[in-house]
């Protein structure tokens, strides 16, 4: 303000420039938000009893999420939703999804499919959505079970944990120090896997010692430096498990460019397309994942069955998930999509996601 008042030379020019700057700024922000806020929305009028479905991932523009949402879009179309869209935050923080849920409640969306960044932070707004008649499908990362109708899980959480401990044990020869490089410290799915891994290590791999669990927050730079810190802090470290696609890729990049390449084993959950070079150059011998597209696909069909009143999400409910066949709701309202796949140099070229 003061700067404005003191320098009143050529006011006309200045005002035009400021106005132009402001308009440009607003326009740019608007375009940025528009394409960031609703990717993959298929058109179609939502009038007259047509059902709508909205996907709220943990974070937009995340390659893994994009594959999941691609499957979700296909599933929504196949299941017969008139309109499907994706909205969500650009950062995976605990509270960032709340405003998007509120907007969907106001828009009267029939089915909200959400991957929770924090199991409880989204609860009160999901409750409002349910009071308004929406069905809530959690996928990928669960909310508090009280706040949703059904949870679509990639795989049995325990299976995911066990396959990773098995892979690391094979790679380090059954004994030595290992560490875990996770995503955020409060991610539901990560913590569940880590809990099972800890139990499994204690019960079945007495010679493997888990020395540390660090968090790279699904940020490339941060995960990279966490990996680096682990190797410095624990000189005898034999292997790292990173149950997150960002973390495993960043760690692989660090290992492949350092003297630890081939000496420190790395496994976890990764996307074949991201991990291909590291498998080829010998940094990583084997890692695991499920088919992420199926996750979105099943979530869309579960949403449809809920919205039609065919199921309520209680144990034993059955619904048809298009090409993938019939699924049964299990304990705690959870639906399992399929078993994890292990990727090695032999089969990695068969996958493209």
């Amino acid at each position: 303000m003061e700067l404005f008042a003191n320098r009143a030379k050529r006011p006309g020019v200045r005002r035009v420039v400021s106005a132009a700057a402001l308009i440009a700024a607003v326009a740019l922000v608007a375009t940025g938000c528009a394409s960031g806020g609703s990717t993959g929305g298929s058109s179609g009028g939502g009038g007259g009893g047509d059902q709508t479905i909205t996907f709220i991932p943990k974070q937009l523009n995340n390659p893994y999420t994009d594959v999941v949402l691609g499957g979700g879009k296909d599933g929504a179309k196949a299941a017969g939703f008139s309109k499907s869209q994706v909205v969500g935050p650009l950062d995976a923080s605990a509270s960032s999804q709340v405003s998007f849920i509120n907007a969907e409640t106001q828009a009267g969306t029939n089915v909200i499919v959400i991957a929770a960044n924090d199991p409880d932070a989204v609860c009160s707004s999901l409750k409002e959505a349910r009071d308004g008649g929406a069905k809530i499908v959690a996928f990928d990362s669960d909310t508090n079970p009280k706040c949703r109708d059904i949870f679509i899980s990639q795989v049995v959480a325990k299976d995911v944990a066990l396959i990773q401990t098995k892979l690391i044990s094979e790679q380090i020869g059954g004994s030595g120090e290992i560490a875990i490089l996770s995503a955020t410290a409060n991610a539901t799915n990560q913590n569940e896997w880590i809990k099972y891994m800890e139990e499994d290590l204690k019960a079945n791999y007495p010679n493997i010692k888990l020395v540390s669990t660090v968090y790279g927050d699904d940020d490339d730079t941060k995960s990279f430096q966490e990996a680096q810190g682990l190797l410095q802090a624990y000189p005898d470290l034999k292997g790292i498990i990173s149950p997150t696609t960002v973390g495993i890729a960043a760690t692989a990049r660090y290992l492949s460019t350092s003297e630890y390449k081939g000496k420190v084993a790395l496994t976890g959950l990764g996307l074949p397309n991201e991990m291909r070079p590291f498998v080829k150059d010998g940094t990583v011998t084997a890692f695991a994942l499920w088919d992420p597209a199926q996750l979105g696909y099943v979530a869309a069909f579960a949403g449809k069955a809920l919205a039609d009143g065919d199921i309520t999400g209680k144990k034993g409910d059955k619904f048809k998930a298009g090409d993938l066949g019939e699924r049964t709701v299990g304990e705690g309202g959870t639906v399992i999509v399929g078993p994890p796949t292990t990727f090695t140099t032999d089969n990695i070229d068969d996958y493209d996601f």
């Binding site: 940025g32 528009a34 430096q225 802090a233």
Partner: protein, 348 residues
């Protein structure tokens, strides 16, 4: 840097040169506290964990610091003119994604062309900041806060979910941050050359000294005939060029570049400059100091991890250092003012 003893009455633009012996000049260097802190930190960490100074450990320290050193050098130029550029993280992100795209779009493109293209791209983005600040006459804090979001928004719109991986780029490009000469990674050597060039410019040229004059008192500088608008614009463009270079080198070092690359980096960069003795209200500080500040902050993170200190403390310690830097700056300013009063009254 070099401080000479001037005979009484000689006009010197250099604020640090009064009647002092070379020894006391060194003791009064603004960069000294951060340098001492850095040496102490490295020694202590090394005593606890010798791996910290193993070749791989040194390489990691230098690589971690490289990107922030370049950004801090650019930021120092802008802060010295009593401005600030908060959009550097977003500029870095856009240039990094642009670099990834360029390698995919033009297979076999020479690396030097990519580096120059990245710097040019950064210059354009820096010029947008500079023009908005100088023409619209709105404080840089507000303008660059706006462009922080605008550039990030553009990056999100452009990249979407697309990411480019190290695999998409030629091996030689990635090797810039793997290969070493005398233990120094190549990208670190690039950063050192950049810092030296900018430091010489800032302390040795007329236009460099003008930037200090503008930061000390913009109105007085204008009255004195310093082309303030042009110089400030130049500072922002230079910062943009350096952020662009940092973006290219980021792409060389890290695995993936995408929509969120570089998010939140601006605060690290401003913190590095302040800790390195660049006064946040402009007019004093040096590029070398800012670079040392960057080295100190990134080394702290590495050191605390190497001695297994909890993450929470790392952030708290960085905060303490920023406060310490400001207190030291304040004490120095008070002492300088008193000394000037004394010497002026004696000269009359």
């Amino acid at each position: 840097m070099t401080t000479t003893v001037h005979p009484t009455g000689t006009d010197s633009p250099r604020p640090s040169s009064g009647r002092r012996s070379p020894l006391s000049a060194i003791a009064h260097l603004r960069e000294l506290p951060v340098l001492l802190a850095l040496v102490a930190l490295i020694l202590v960490t090394w005593l606890i964990n010798p791996l910290f100074l193993a070749p791989q450990g040194v390489k990691d320290i230098l690589l971690n610091a490289t990107i922030v050193i370049i950004l801090a050098a650019g930021q120092a130029i802008v802060i010295i003119t009593r401005n600030v550029d908060l959009s550097v993280g977003s500029i870095l992100g856009l240039v990094a994604f642009g670099t990834g795209s360029l390698f995919v779009a033009v297979p076999g493109i020479p690396i030097i062309v990519v580096i120059l293209a990245g710097m040019l791209f950064g210059a354009v983005l820096g010029a947008i900041n500079g023009l908005l600040v100088t023409l619209a006459k709105v404080p840089a804090l507000v303008i660059t806060l706006g462009t922080l979001y605008i550039f990030r928004g553009l990056n999100n719109a452009w990249a979407g979910g697309t990411q480019f991986f190290a695999d998409d780029r030629p091996q030689e490009f990635g090797n810039l941050s793997v290969d070493t000469v005398l233990g120094f990674p190549l990208i670190t050597l690039i950063a050192i050359v950049v810092v030296v060039i900018v430091a010489v410019f800032m302390s040795g040229t007329r236009s460099g000294r003008d930037l200090y004059a503008i930061g000390s008192d913009p109105d007085a500088a204008r009255v004195f005939g310093v082309p303030v608008t042009r110089r400030v614009l130049f500072a922002f463009v230079t910062n943009g060029v350096l952020a662009g270079l940092a973006g290219v080198l980021y792409t060389s070092r890290f695995n993936s570049v995408g929509a969120t690359t570089g998010t939140g980096l601006e605060l690290d960069v401003v913190a590095a400059a302040v800790v390195g003795g660049v006064a946040i209200f402009g007019g004093s500080g040096s590029v070398i100091g800012a670079a040392l500040g960057a080295l100190l902050l990134t080394t702290i993170t590495g050191a605390l991890t190497a001695v297994r200190v909890d993450k929470f403390w790392q952030q708290a310690i960085v905060g303490l250092l920023i406060l310490a830097a400001i207190v030291i700056d304040r004490i120095a300013a008070v002492r300088t003012a008193r000394r000037l009063r004394v010497s002026e009254s004696r000269d009359v």
